[in-house]
Amino acid sequence: MSVKYSPVQWTRSKIFYDIVLALMVVSYILIYIRVSPQFLDHARLADDAIVRARAFGTCAFFMLTVILCIGPLARLDRRFLPLLYNRRHFGVLTFFVALTHMLYVLDWYFNFSPIPRLEAMLSANTSYGHVLGFPFETLGVLSLLALAILAATSHDFWLRFLTAPVWKSLHYLLYAAYALLVGHVALGSLQSENNPTFAIVVGASVLLVCGLHIAAAWREHRLAAPGAREDTWYLAGDLKDFEEGRAKIVNFGNGRRAAVFLYGGKLSAISNACAHQNGPLGEGRITGSCVTCPWHGFEYRLEDGRSPEPFTERVPTYNLRLDGTSVLVNAVANPPGTFVQPLEVAEQVV
């Protein structure tokens, strides 16, 4: 949070996570190198250097697939949240695995070129008008470039420097990287493999990633259906529909959402977007009078939207009023950190 920067913020769980991750990557690469020459039947014989390049390439593909599954899984089922908290290291490692793949390819196919190796790769095939024989290497380079931007801007400094909306928009490049990578694999390696196993696995991973993201987006849309409008006041719901310790999310339709919490017989509303990475505060856990962001554990007091001292993060608050048993929230946000007297509803709720 708002403390001096360090190169990497290690915790016991992050170290454990990273060790497991590194072991899985090393195991995959060793097993692939040992097993694939007998198992995967390429149209042309693959020698050791090509097998090593493909080991790192396929590993990067599967790592990116897993990374893309973690976000929607965590939104669909809270048990996946611990995977989300450490996703940054996963992403950086994926970039280095993909980079190793590219270096193997450059070393093997373009090492004796009279021109620079990258230039040789980009000029070796320029049939951009053909589907068959499409220069799939370019798709791989663009995907790697996107991964490089994501890895290079993964430190907390960038979040603060660029602001969360800009940083998160930049990190939408992950989706472009995946689309480019699917193109790279489908128009490249899969064109020469006679064994259908890898093609089936890639197809299944594409379906999994797309299916999970559509399911998560649909769930969010269902949870945040816009309330009935009355001037600037939006319906958050009826009192009887609120659950103690949970929030209802109100979508104002302008990119902003409020999370209206019932806690200890009181109602308070703050922005649904965490000041850190705009995580969904409305899905967070309440401890006392604070909510904890489900993404990275940032805490905010519900009456004023401020992080407890010594932290300095703030989110906007919203005014609430009762109309009979209907809870209405004003769409005009108060400046971040503004105190709003909680609405006492203990008697009505009982």
């Binding site: 708002s2 920067y5 000029s123 049939s127 290079a152 420097f161 800009v166 193109g183 990633v209």
Partner: protein, 122 residues
């Protein structure tokens, strides 16, 4: 100069310019615009690749923060508001790309020499 040579040349210039920006920003700029960076030095080398890749954006934000024009209002905007339609599009595009590539796949016949596509007469 070929298109590939031009791309590599531009990339090289970009890296040189980014390196210069990184030196100036990490030695002078960062302390002026981020209080949490003052007195912290070990994390700064980690920022070098990002500054090299995004140096125009770094200069823009540096200028913005120096001039006090920080668009704080946008900080609470729900960034995932675009997620739904982005994936509605990608869920069509990515499978279409994969299926097209598999349907158009050319299986090389055993024993036949490879045919150069650019000179093939269909």
């Amino acid at each position: 100069m070929t298109a590939a040579a031009t791309i590599v040349w531009i990339a090289t210039l970009w890296i040189y310019a980014g390196s210069a920006v990184a030196v100036v920003f990490l030695l002078i700029g960062i302390d002026r615009i981020d209080a949490d960076a003052r007195g912290s030095y070990t994390f700064r080398p980690l920022l070098v690749p990002g500054i090299i890749l995004l140096w125009p954006l770094v200069l823009f934000r540096w200028l913005q923060l120096e001039s006090g024009v920080d668009p704080n209002r946008s900080r609470d905007r729900a960034i995932r508001s675009a997620h739904g339609w982005v994936w509605a599009l990608l869920a069509i595009l990515i499978p279409a790309l994969f299926i097209s590539a598999m349907l158009l796949r050319q299986t090389p016949p055993d024993g036949e020499p490879a045919v150069q596509l650019s000179t093939r007469q269909d």
